[in-house]
Every structure is written in structure tokens, then in C-alpha cells.
């Protein structure tokens, strides 16, 4: 007999209340694709599991009046992929979420879980950062918002206050000529954790890049927003020199480690390669002539 409790509240207030009452021993269950693995490995032993999938706001996708999106933190990759509009507006964000795990994992895993897992290699995080997504969190002291890049704190750690729950991602409306893309390097074609991941969002106006954001995963203790790479792209026609400079900025931003998935040298090199490829895809999607 275990002393673990399971709760599936229907409202956020209930969820936050239970989360707070558990005083640090609770874990949020969205898709469970990380939590169950961690529980089985004995890495976490929650006293309370709060299943948030019965809370409507956490599982809904809303297209806002201005053309942006609010995506519930527990929306699974498979559900997001079936949304008629989301993938057209944010193809890079969608492909990043759809790269998390297998078809089976897609049926469960969410961008919220991916972010809150705190892994520097989470696929959706660089794309969300590139997309300039804002997260909404709710805790005992109410709601607040912050940019995605403010969430990761280090491997396995995030900057949410005690008993705060990630509620949703807000993605801004897209000006004409905008698109995004995400690529990752893995040794196989599927089923691996990213060795390097790169998300790029950009806007082209008459062939000139007028806005760009670059997120880079698995090359530092947290996913990085690489402003120097974005700067190298903005104002350019995405010519070779500009893209090379952005790639160099990505490689320069890397502070990776040697581990079972890749080496420092490899990750640093590949970060630049992926930047170039990702910019190419995003630019084509944005209607580059």
C-alpha cells in the first residue's frame, strides 16, 4: 500500500489549493511522459499527484481576436497537430512539439510538461522562445505572466514559485511575411533526446529580415535565447554572410557538456549547422522569393 494520493480537479483553484497544501511533495501530471518515467526510476516520490487534464483551460486551444493563440499547458502534441489553424501560423512551434517522443508519446506529451520538466534538451522550448511566447502561471497569490525564456533555471529546475502551476502559452499574432521552424539533431531519425535543437522565428519584409528570434537547446544548462544570432539576421536579406554570422553566434553561445548524447565539440559545431538549416526553412515558409 502506498501513501501517494491522486487528484484530478476540475478547476485551477482546486489544483493550486491542493498543490499548495501538499507543501512541496506534489507533482503536476499533464501527459505524464516524464513524470511516470521519473517515478519508476525512483527519481521522484510524490506524496500527491495532481492531474490537471480535467481543467478546461489547461487543455484548450484558443485563437485570439488579434490572431494570436493561447494554448493550454496540457494540450498534447497530437491534439495541437489536429487544430485547423495553429500549424499554419506556427509551423515551427508545432513541429517542435510533435518531435517530442513517439506517436504514442504525442498522444499525451504537452508543451507545458516539456517546459516544466526543465530539461535543457526539451524540443518545444527553443521554438517557444523563438516564437516569443508568454506563459501564464497561477499560484496561491494569483496569476502572473512571464516570457518563456524566464522559466528555465537549470537542468531539472524552473523559476516557478511554490505551488505555481503553468496554465498556458500565449503566442503573439503574426505580421505578414512571418514564419518559424525547428530542427534538432538526433543520432537516429526518431525516439532520441535532442543533441542540439534550434528554433528560429522570423519576419521578412520585401526580402529583408525585419524581426528574428533564435532559441537553442541542449547546448547549455538551460535552453538559450541567442540574441546575437537574431541580431545578425535582422536587417539582412538572409544572405550567406548574415546567416554565417548568426551560425557563428550560435556556436559562440554554446556552453555544452560532453555526455552520452554528444560532445562539446560536436554540439558547438552542430549548433551553427542547424541554425543555417532552420533559417532556410523558416525563410522559405515566410515566403522568401
Amino acid at each position: 500500500m502506498t501513501d501517494i494520493q491522486y487528484l484530478a480537479p476540475h478547476t485551477l483553484d482546486e489544483a493550486v489549493g491542493a498543490f499548495a497544501a501538499a507543501a512541496g511533495t506534489a507533482r503536476i501530471l499533464a501527459g505524464g511522459t516524464d513524470l511516470l518515467v521519473q517515478m519508476r526510476a525512483g527519481m521522484v516520490r510524490p506524496g500527491l499527484i495532481v492531474d490537471i487534464k480535467k481543467i478546461a483551460e489547461m487543455t484548450s486551444i484558443e485563437e485570439t481576436a488579434d490572431g494570436g493563440f493561447v494554448v493550454g499547458a496540457a494540450v498534447s502534441g497530437a491534439v495541437l497537430a489536429e487544430h485547423p489553424r495553429f500549424g499554419k501560423v506556427w509551423p515551427g512551434v508545432l513541429e517542435s512539439i510533435n518531435l517530442i517522443g513517439s506517436t504514442q508519446v504525442q498522444g499525451r506529451a504537452s508543451a507545458g510538461g516539456n517546459l516544466c520538466n526543465g530539461s535543457p534538451a526539451g524540443d518545444s522550448v527553443p521554438a517557444m522562445m523563438a516564437a516569443d511566447a508568454i506563459v501564464t502561471v497561477q499560484g496561491p497569490n494569483g496569476r502572473r505572466q512571464m516570457p518563456v525564456e524566464a522559466v528555465p533555471a537549470g537542468p531539472g529546475r524552473i523559476n516557478l514559485a511554490p505551488a505555481e502551476i503553468l496554465v498556458s502559452f500565449t503566442l503573439p499574432p503574426r505580421p505578414p511575411g512571418s514564419s518559424d521552424a525547428y530542427l534538432r539533431m538526433i543520432p537516429r531519425t526518431e525516439m532520441d533526446i535532442a543533441v542540439v535543437g534550434c528554433g528560429v522565428s522570423l519576419t521578412l519584409t520585401n526580402g529583408v529580415c525585419t524581426a528574428a528570434r533564435v532559441g537553442l537547446g541542449a547546448v547549455a544548462p538551460t535552453v538559450l535565447l541567442v540574441e546575437a544570432a537574431a541580431k545578425a539576421l535582422i536587417g539582412s536579406k538572409l544572405d550567406t554572410a548574415a546567416v554565417d554570422a548568426a551560425a557563428a553566434a550560435c556556436s559562440a553561445a554554446c556552453r555544452p557538456i560532453d555526455d552520452k548524447r554528444g560532445t562539446i565539440v560536436y554540439r558547438t559545431k552542430v549548433a551553427g549547422v542547424l541554425l543555417k538549416r532552420t533559417v532556410g526553412i523558416a525563410a522559405d515558409r515566410a515566403g522568401r522569393a
Binding site: 502506498t2 501517494i4 484530478a8 511522459t33 499527484i49 506517436t103 504514442q104 526518431e190
Partner: protein
């Protein structure tokens, strides 16, 4: 603490069971429910041998808490054939020798059925990526992919 009581539907049958909060759906299927067709190859969502349908979504039952099954509709490999009648995929796997040891087969079949329900005309590449979460160490996947493509073609023809 008392066990959790869960009411759900499994392979069309209203089903009730008791579980611990940290039991996986796979634990309950294989244990108290005696549905051992779903296999545990890894317990971490990497092999797909425990694949089931949860409310028409393909999932790994090892990555789902049994408690989450409340009010849901679950289908396992045991629910794939109707009485004596095998699903066309099951029949085709036999005809094309798309299994060797057979341990991955239940998961592969459940996943393949989920694919054909969404897309009855998949390309080889689509089949391969859809099934990337179902490890098979015996076949090299060749005959599995052929069996899925052949079944799809036959089902398309039958639907016309």
C-alpha cells in the same frame, strides 16, 4: 490509505478495478485485469510494446496512471479481433510473416490500426515514422511495413 476505485470501459466492457495512485495502466492491465497481451519491454515509453488506445488516442500504457482511466474508453490488443474474426492487419501479419518472436506484435498492431483509422493511404515513410515508437528487434521492420501497406491497400479496395 485505501486503494483508488476506477470505473472505465475496456474493450467495450464496463470495467471496475482498484489500484494504487502510482500504478500504471499497464500494471493494472497485466495484473488484476489479466490482459497480458500488452507487454512491458522498457517501462519508459521507448519500446511501444504496451501500446493501447485511450479515447481513440494511441498511448503507451506504461506512461499512463491507472487512475487516469476513470470514465475513459480503452482498447487493448485483446479487443482487436471481433470474436473469431481477425482484424485485416492481424490476418496480414500472419500471411506475410510480419512477426518473429511476437513480443512487439501486439503493440505494433494496435499502433498500425490507429494509423489506418486516421490515414488509409499512408506512404512507406509515414508508416515508418508512425511506428518509430514500436521497437522490433527481430524483423528489421521490412515485413511489418509491407504488411501495413498491403492491409491499407486491401482496406481501401474493400471500402470502394
Amino acid at each position: 490509505m485505501a486503494k483508488l476505485h476506477v470505473s472505465t470501459t475496456i474493450n467495450g466492457e464496463p470495467t471496475e478495478f482498484l489500484c494504487e495512485a502510482n500504478d500504471s495502466m499497464l500494471d493494472v492491465l497485466r495484473g488484476p485485469l489479466g490482459l497480458t497481451g500488452s507487454k512491458e519491454g522498457c517501462g519508459s515509453g521507448d519500446c511501444g510494446a504496451c501500446s493501447i488506445m485511450l479515447d481513440d488516442r494511441l498511448v503507451c500504457s506504461c506512461l499512463m496512471l491507472a487512475a487516469e482511466a476513470e470514465d475513459s474508453d480503452i482498447t487493448t490488443i485483446e479487443g482487436m479481433a471481433v470474436g473469431e474474426k481477425l482484424h485485416p492487419l492481424q490476418q496480414k501479419f500472419l500471411e506475410l510473416a510480419a512477426l518473429q518472436c511476437g513480443i512487439c506484435t501486439p503493440g505494433v498492431l494496435v499502433a498500425s490500426k490507429a494509423l489506418l483509422e486516421r490515414n488509409l493511404n499512408p506512404t512507406e515513410t509515414e508508416v515508418r515514422y508512425w511506428l518509430a515508437g514500436n521497437l522490433c528487434r527481430c524483423t528489421g521492420y521490412d515485413k511489418i511495413v509491407r504488411a501495413v501497406l498491403d492491409t491499407a491497400a486491401e482496406m481501401r479496395e474493400a471500402a470502394q
